[in-house]
């Protein structure tokens, strides 16, 4: 793969079809900013967060997705998919990326 840094700065990047992501699941997209976790929930909403739990860096893409949240696989913090915020009483926030779905294609804005 050629260096994505130059190609995808500040652009909507097509990451694949929505059906590539299992409902209530996630896939990882490798980017210049590190791994990005792209989630799909039961209502086919799609979200993208940096794949790094604000607690100790756990890979959120590997967690269990429910409603609009994901439970981190390492110590079970709940992270909001829509805002990246940890659910109280835990405190922390993970970087978010804008997402859009056009047709059956998912795009993530990487900037």
């Amino acid at each position: 793969m050629n260096a994505p840094e130059t190609m995808i700065m500040n652009e909507w990047v097509k990451v694949g079809a929505i059906d590539d992501i299992p409902p209530l699941g996630a896939r990882v997209v490798k980017s210049a900013h590190g791994d990005i976790a792209v989630f799909r929930n039961a209502d086919d909403e799609v979200f993208a967060l940096l794949d790094k739990c604000p607690h100790k860096g756990g890979p959120l893409s590997q967690g269990i997705v429910f409603g609009r949240h994901v439970a981190c696989p390492l110590h079970n913090w709940s992270i909001g998919l829509a805002d990246g915020e940890a659910v109280a009483p835990d405190v922390g926030c993970v970087r978010q990326f804008a997402v859009k779905v056009e047709g059956a294609q998912v795009f993530v804005k990487i900037n």
Binding site: D20, P23, L24, K56, G57, P59, Q62, I64, P73
Partner: protein, 809 residues
């Protein structure tokens, strides 16, 4: 839709807790208005005593401040007393004329202190003990005067007396009965309590009836006189002789009241639009005076107000703890005993320890303890759950620490711990941090403490200690969680057992079907209920229910164990711990080819390859060509063996082959939690069969089978199940035992937890006595395992490819 109007009268602990519950489950249903007679938002009334004692400030004990009401869109009228309810116009009217109409009305007016009808009761300086105003009056008096007389030697009276003493007053407690707290303590306990309070400088006058309170020359209280003619000086008189439910409003509105507003099991009064909770109610003839029952009421009331229509309040058993620092006292249930009860008593008058447990038909019905109350919460839980204690009766008196369940450094008594001592070894939480969180954040339950401090939220071995800390910090307000009807999680009020039952009876085959049928509150559950339901479906309907990988923890979805850096570990199966040169050579080649950083021999007699990248997993498995060891799964893990009769000079049975046979038969067996077996070739027991879920020990005449051992967080020795003659019988009995466990235990129960709950007798009845039942169980296990594919080989061939590959951009 226009919101319905909910009005609450009485802004105290029970009412606000009910509102919190409503907001949690149905935030948009009601437009809420609250009237409170006090000028403060909701505070923790039970912590008034520490405030009086100077251990806390008013600010510390606020539970919900004004901002909370605002953030939740609740209209709050402070300092406004409701004067009447107009049931026809469906509105309430306050003393100052403010009106508010309602669709539903919630009465939570608490109770009023009882005032003795004696001359002088209205003099300045005579007060009761109920709210912030009273507490401030006492603090104020303590700064100016010398003699305090507390009338009433119950819980409140003693806490008031202790506080006033600490603030420098000379305090006399006057009590009518023969001993203190006669409704919670027997005479022995009360005498010990009296002695320890006397050591703190309090004075007591027992069996004294107060006849009058007399004024001094300036018109303020000056002395108290008794029926025997005696008289003592008093600059402050606190009456703490009892409470009566505050049902005036309801009574005046024509709602049926006896001693309190009469409510049904759904917390409705005789007017179904009007609910009542807290100390103002009378439920099945009982008016409660402690917080724990009020919270249970609040939960039920909220549930019905939110139109969910599940849950009934069926009454509570309460316990008492005195919140006087340095005095340890606990009482619950029928502590006096009766003709048909037995007592276990430990009394060490010099050491200041007294413990009494009252038993009826092998169940605890009451308990009273002074000096060492560490196990109060534990006894109380068994009392409420009506647990049969026949099997642990010998150890009962020595407490839970005797059965394990201690803090990280092995402490078993919270009271003796310094604030800086570590309670939770997994998360590094000290006692002081827990106490602080309980007080400042107003926590009442174990779950609350887990959420806010993380203590006891990982391995759980310090749970007993955390419960003690809770109990001693919040007093009788703490109700140990009832195991029996504990809901699965916040998504539902149903228990694990109910979910299993519905899945079986309704023949449900998918998670959405279960959630729909059982009216889950959340659209697709959470990370705690979904894996449980997925397991219940698969274990109830093997080959029928469809597995949902998204409802499995990552380890079971990726079939490898996630590590802290996001890489995975791979542990191939080595049946019975026996390997070959060819297998070892292949493992070595894989390690080289994929540059696996660590190779380790595990505690389970096999080899762990640590630090494998997720994308490499399918290739590693293909190259290994060995079956999955399920080291990552709630499933059969290892079967440890010793060399046995084939080589060992002591061996009497071929334990290695027995272990291999067991592992081959039960590999791929999913279970509520991980399952570990061991087989030793003689009673020297080199494979440690005594601490396994199923441990087998070869003896000259056959095999002994032990069950429900655990070598982990709390080491538990396995219990003897039976002795059999042949290897086939070992398979059948072990298999039947595991199958009952698979079919009936709660998800995440190890065998030891499950057997502790149902009793070994039950297991014996299912596996030993019922021969046909045993054979059927074993057949069901074999049926479930039949044709189960090896997950690694399937993935090496391309199953669930998306799980292991990143998306490319």
């Amino acid at each position: 839709m226009k919101k319905m109007k909910l009005v609450m009268v009485g802004n105290g602990m029970a009412g606000v807790r009910t509102l919190e519950e409503i907001i949690k489950i149905s935030p948009d249903l009601y437009d809420i208005t609250v009237f409170g007679a006090e000028p403060h938002a909701n505070y923790n009334r039970i912590l008034l005593s520490p405030v009086l004692a100077g251990e806390m400030t008013l600010k510390d004990i606020m539970l919900n401040d004004v901002d909370w009401y605002e953030a939740n869109g609740i209209r709050l009228h402070l300092d406004k007393q409701i004067a009447r309810i107009d049931r026809i116009a469906r509105k309430v009217v306050a003393a100052d004329g403010t009106e508010e109409s309602y669709d539903r009305l919630l009465l939570a007016t608490g109770s009023n202190p009882f005032v003795l009808p004696i001359p002088g009761k209205d003099l300045p300086g005579v007060i009761t003990y109920r709210d912030i105003k009273d507490t401030n009056a006492m603090i104020d008096a303590a700064g100016k005067y010398r003699h305090a007389v507390v009338i009433g030697g119950g819980l409140l009276g003693l806490e008031a007396a202790n506080g006033l003493k600490l603030r420098g007053m000379d305090v006399t407690v006057v009590h009518l009965a023969e001993w203190l707290m006669e409704r919670q303590l027997d005479k022995t306990a009360a005498d010990m309590l009296k002695k320890s309070l006397e050591n703190k400088g309090l004075r007591f006058l027992l069996q004294k009836q107060t006849t009058a309170i007399l004024a001094n020359e300036s018109g303020r209280v000056g002395s108290v006189s008794f029926s025997d003619g005696a008289q003592i000086p008093a600059d402050l008189v606190v009456m703490a002789v009892g409470i009566k439910p505050n049902d005036d409003l309801a009574r005046a509105a024509g709602i049926h009241c006896t001693r309190g507003v009469v409510v049904s099991d759904t917390m409705q009064t005789y007017d179904p639009r009007i609910y009542a909770v807290g100390e103002c109610v009378n439920h099945r003839g009982v008016a409660y005076g402690l917080v724990a029952p009020l919270f249970e009421m609040g939960k039920v009331a909220a549930n019905h107000l939110a139109h969910l229509g599940i849950g009934r309040y069926e009454g509570s058993v309460t316990s008492t703890k005195l919140k006087v620092t340095g005095v340890d006292l606990f009482s619950a249930g029928n502590f006096q005993g009766a003709a048909d009860t037995e007592e276990i008593v430990l009394h060490d008058a010099i050491g200041g320890v007294y413990k009494k447990i009252v038993l009826k038909d092998d169940r605890i019905v009451g308990s009273v303890m002074v000096g060492d109350t560490g196990d109060g919460a534990w006894y109380f839980q068994m009392l409420r759950e009506k647990q049969n204690v026949a099997e642990i009766r010998d150890h009962l008196m020595f407490g839970q620490s005797h059965l394990g369940n201690t803090g990280h450094q092995g402490q078993s008594n919270a009271a003796q711990m310094a604030d800086t001592m570590e309670v939770c070894g997994c998360n590094g939480v000290c006692k002081g941090v827990i106490v602080k969180a309980i007080k400042e954040k107003g926590l009442f339950t174990l779950d609350d403490v887990r959420k806010h401090t993380k203590a006891s939220s990982s391995c759980g071995s310090c749970t007993g200690l955390v419960e003690q800390i809770l109990a001693s910090t919040v007093g009788g307000a703490y109700a140990p969680q009832l195991n029996k009807n504990k809901p699965m999680c916040g998504c539902t009020d149903h228990t694990h057992e109910e979910a299993r039952k519905v899945i079986r009876e309704q023949h449900l085959l998918s998670i959405p079907a279960v959630m729909h049928f059982m009216e889950w509150r959340t659209p697709n559950g959470c990370a705690s209920c979904r894996p449980a339901i997925n397991y219940y479906l698969l274990s109830t309907w093997p080959h029928e229910a469809l597995d949902d990988p998204q409802s499995r923890f990552i380890n079971e979805r990726a079939h490898a164990n996630i590590q802290k850096d996001g890489t995975f570990s791979v542990v191939p199966r080595m049946f019975g711990g026996v390997t070959t040169a060819a297998d070892l050579r292949r493992i070595a080649d894989v390690v080289d080819k994929y540059q696996i950083p660590t190779v380790k021999v595990t505690g389970g007699q096999r080899i762990d390859l640590l630090g494998v990248k997720k994308a490499d997993l399918p290739k590693v498995w293909a190259d290994l060509a060995m079956p999955s060891g399920h080291a990552y799964a709630k499933a059969l893990r290892t079967v440890k063996t010793c060399v046995g009769s084939e080589w060992c000079r002591f061996g009497v049975q071929d334990s290695t082959q027995m272990g291999i046979d067991l592992e081959r038969a039960f590999a791929k067996m999913y279970a509520p939690h991980k399952v570990k077996l061991a087989v030793s070739g003689c009673p020297r027991n080199c494979a440690e069969s005594g601490i396994k879920d199923v441990g087998v020990i070869g003896v000259d005449s056959g095999w002994e089978i032990y069950v429900a051992g655990n070598g982990g967080i709390k080491t538990e020795v396995a219990q003897f199940l039976c002795k059999v003659k042949t290897a086939d019988e070992v398979l059948e009995y072990a298999g039947a035992f595991l199958q009952v466990y698979r079919e009936e235990a709660r998800y995440l129960d190890r065998t030891v937890h499950w057997v502790a709950r149902v009793g070994l007798e039950y297991v014996k009845q299912r596996v030993l006595e019922d021969t046909a039942g045993r054979k059927a169980l074993y057949a069901r296990l074999l049926y479930a395992l039949q044709d189960e594919k090896d997950p690694w080989q399937a993935r090496a061939q391309g199953v669930a490819k998306h799980e292991f590959e990143a998306l490319t951009v």
